[in-house]
Subunit: 466 residues, 2 copies
């Protein structure tokens, strides 16, 4: 089945695709905050209509106890591989709202950029994936491979009910491989293939130094302050270089492979510009390039920290409680549970006598993922990118985490190719997130070719070489 | 003029006094938060009515550009000393609201305690002071001394416009000494005289590590995180004992006097019970008793700290900005501006290269205050307490700060006796603040005697011995 007429058809429909993406972005589908429950439901309804409209069958919600996933299938290619096409419809919270130059849920085009929460992560690429399937069905009345569209609703919260969804709908989700709209490009000027991603583990740390808030005039100088104690603990997690200073975490970590280090060096990467783009300060583990730190080495980050009086003016209290949300980006080979345990052990060991330590929000972690270079998914992607870019793609790893990849590998035995169009400069998870408009056309040219290339392989080849 | 009939009159009116205090407490006079502007205005109207009703003259607001003070006078005792009677009508914010067992602005009596925000700090003692003046005017048609009632509205925010009020109304506020309803008792079982208080200085620290929030998958492990940098700075302020670790601040500090150390040792003080009362952890400067740490030595406390994502669920960001509100309780002899400068210098010196440091909210500081033992205010208070308690009072210093004392000394040359009734266990500035109900009767017995004893001195004696 020839992809070229599908590409032509989709490029002619470019503005209609953009309109559909804009409507998708208007829906405030923030999964982490119950205040957005209505936006989540409206987004699911929007997707159910869309998938039915393009001709998928068995369109339904897959409920695992949290925000359900949206599913639809086209299974009319007997003998051809069955491919799960993955995207997610949830987005990060828009906070801090005050820093957005345009409203986060009113998509706005400025200077070749489509600004909106979720434009880059990952409604843009998800829309390209859905439109690709729609294009094949419209032009050929069918696809080169069997398609199971799976659109998750909890990617941004660490996919807490994904395992339950896979358990409940295991038969429905059987397939030979997955291609994901999440996990984007590493460079705007070089074709790249994602062959892996760091893992993720998280916890919330609660530090208590007393049973109630105290007046700093009455108690100041004579008792522990929960904020001081939290600060001392957080300060102990890194050394002066910004390298992780939790020995048990680093000692259990295998060294990066020589191939991984060669691949990391292959991508042209302007370290200074990468850091300058966010006005940041380069830091981290000595002995590794910045790109290696980002993809082959772990990172501990405090994502939020709070305690005491944070309103207007001043309040002279000694807080009794302080909290921090902490995540670990896991390097290849690191076990999430072991890493979280090492972090907890470290925190308990540095906490001063009498300071009460508690943890919450643990779970939903996933290890790093890796795709072998000779895998059919990598071969197919290589041929697509050679054709579109007229040169060989570079193998890269993601610093970010796509838990779905690890879970589908573990529970269903299938590998994932990340084939998103998003680029590193698009301010994902931050104010003024955007998607480069020209990525839409690039995606509409590449995705149909990928489905065509995947059809060349026999179903069993995807698993044999996994 | 005999105080005894006034005491009898006031004790008969005990329940009416309690009713008036309850009405005072219902008014939400939070000075630090503009959301309470209406409550502040209602409280001023309430006080203006009250002072006029008891027979004071020249009742008015004294406006210094912030929340005005409320003023009223009785000046019918020519030749007698003129005494400013000080109280404040503003209160701390009620946050965290969820921890209150009864609503903060619905006064509730339980087990001999009157619960409400401001009950202890300091509407309870302010009410006793006003009722004392009212009692003399009702019973004798006059007071033993000339009275200028001065009720501040910005005590809880460090008295930012108090200097301007004193500048604008300097003539009106001329007096020989001040007695203050703020600054309470040190013990429920021993009579005590406050002969001093620590000072206060503050700043807000803003730490920036980038120009925008970053995705921890894209940048984690390769850039500075503002929360890590803030934590490192805060952790550097104290050593493992909890003692201040800002050398420039401690080196400029004079050692406590031998008399101060003897006085600190004179009050029976159960250190373990004091700390256990709040479920706290004892800490601080080695070589000093807990009571000395609280009154004769400085303290640095972070009152609030925040940055990044603090909502429900998780958000994998690397924050670009983090903030902390910091106050210093100043020991006798420490200069507020010098102390804040030493703190700023220290913070800049420990901040890592590239980390941007900014400060806000500086100003309104005041040094520690001290009242000599032979001062007429101390002599008068000593005689009152000997009479009420049938034994000699102990000299104590406050760990908390009453900026008014320092400002009135500096600008108007007058000394202050703190004669509040509040006790250390009353959870001031914290949820479930309360006032021991039996302090009302004790106050109504003591305050009239104090006015009578002050009348024994010639006006010039208050200044000669200051």
């Amino acid at each position: 089945m020839n992809a070229e007429p599908v590409v032509d058809h989709l490029l002619q429909r470019h503005d209609a695709v953009l309109d559909r993406l804009t409507a998708f972005l208007r829906l405030p589908s923030v999964s982490t905050d119950p205040a957005y429950a209505e936006g989540m439901a409206a987004t699911r309804a929007f997707l159910l209509d869309w998938l039915a409209e393009i001709g998928l069958s068995d369109v339904q919600l897959l409920d695992g106890g949290g925000h359900p996933a949206v599913y639809g299938a086209w299974l009319g290619a007997p003998g051809a591989p069955t491919i799960i096409v993955y995207g997610h419809y949830d987005v990060q919270p828009p906070d801090p709202l005050a820093l957005w130059r345009t409203p986060p849920f009113e998509p706005t085009i400025q200077g070749g950029r489509l600004h909106a929460r979720g434009a880059s992560d990952v409604k843009g690429s998800t829309t390209i994936a859905i439109e690709t399937v729609a294009g094949f069905l419209a032009v050929h009345g069918g696809c080169p491979v069997n398609i199971k569209l799976f659109l998750e609703g909890e990617e941004e919260t660490g996919s807490p009910s994904l395992r339950e969804i896979v358990h409940r709908y295991g038969t429905l989700l059987q397939a030979d491989a997955m291609i994901s709209a999440d996990g984007g490009r590493a460079s705007p000027t070089e074709p790249t293939i994602n062959v892996g991603a760091r893992g993720l583990a998280k916890l919330e740390l609660i530090v208590r130094s007393a049973e109630k808030e105290m007046h700093s005039g009455r108690y100041g100088g004579a008792v522990r302050n929960a904020l001081h104690e939290l600060a001392a603990i957080i300060a102990s997690l890194h050394d002066a270089n910004g390298a992780i200073a939790v020995p048990a975490l680093m000692e259990a970590l295998p060294p990066p492979s020589a191939q991984d280090r060669r691949d990391a060096a292959a991508l042209p990467f302007d370290e200074a510009a990468f850091v300058a783009d966010v006005g940041g300060i380069a830091a981290g583990e000595p002995g590794y390039s910045l790109r290696e730190r980002l993809t082959l080495r772990p990172a501990i980050d405090v994502n939020g920290m709070w305690g005491g009086y944070t309103g207007a003016g001043s309040k002279t209290v000694i807080p009794d409680e302080a909290r921090a949300k902490v995540t670990i980006r896991l390097a290849p080979g690191q076990d999430p549970e072991q890493a979280i345990q090492a972090l907890q052990d470290h925190i308990r060991s540095v906490a001063r006598p009498g300071v009460r330590i508690a943890f919450a929000g643990i779970g939903g972690g996933s290890p790093a993922s890796t795709l072998a270079g000779h895998h059919p998914l990598v071969q197919a992607a290589t041929r697509v990118l050679q054709r579109v870019w007229q040169r060989d793609p570079v193998h890269v790893r993601l610093g970010a985490t796509v838990p779905i990849t690890a879970i589908f590998k573990e529970l269903l035995g299938m590998d994932t190719l990340m084939f998103g169009l998003n680029l590193p400069d698009e301010d994902v998870h931050a104010p003024n997130e955007f998607f480069h408009l020209d990525s839409i056309a690039l995606g509409l040219r590449s995705w149909p070719l990928l489905l065509q290339e995947l059809a060349i392989f026999a179903p069993e080849e995807f698993r044999a070489k996994g």
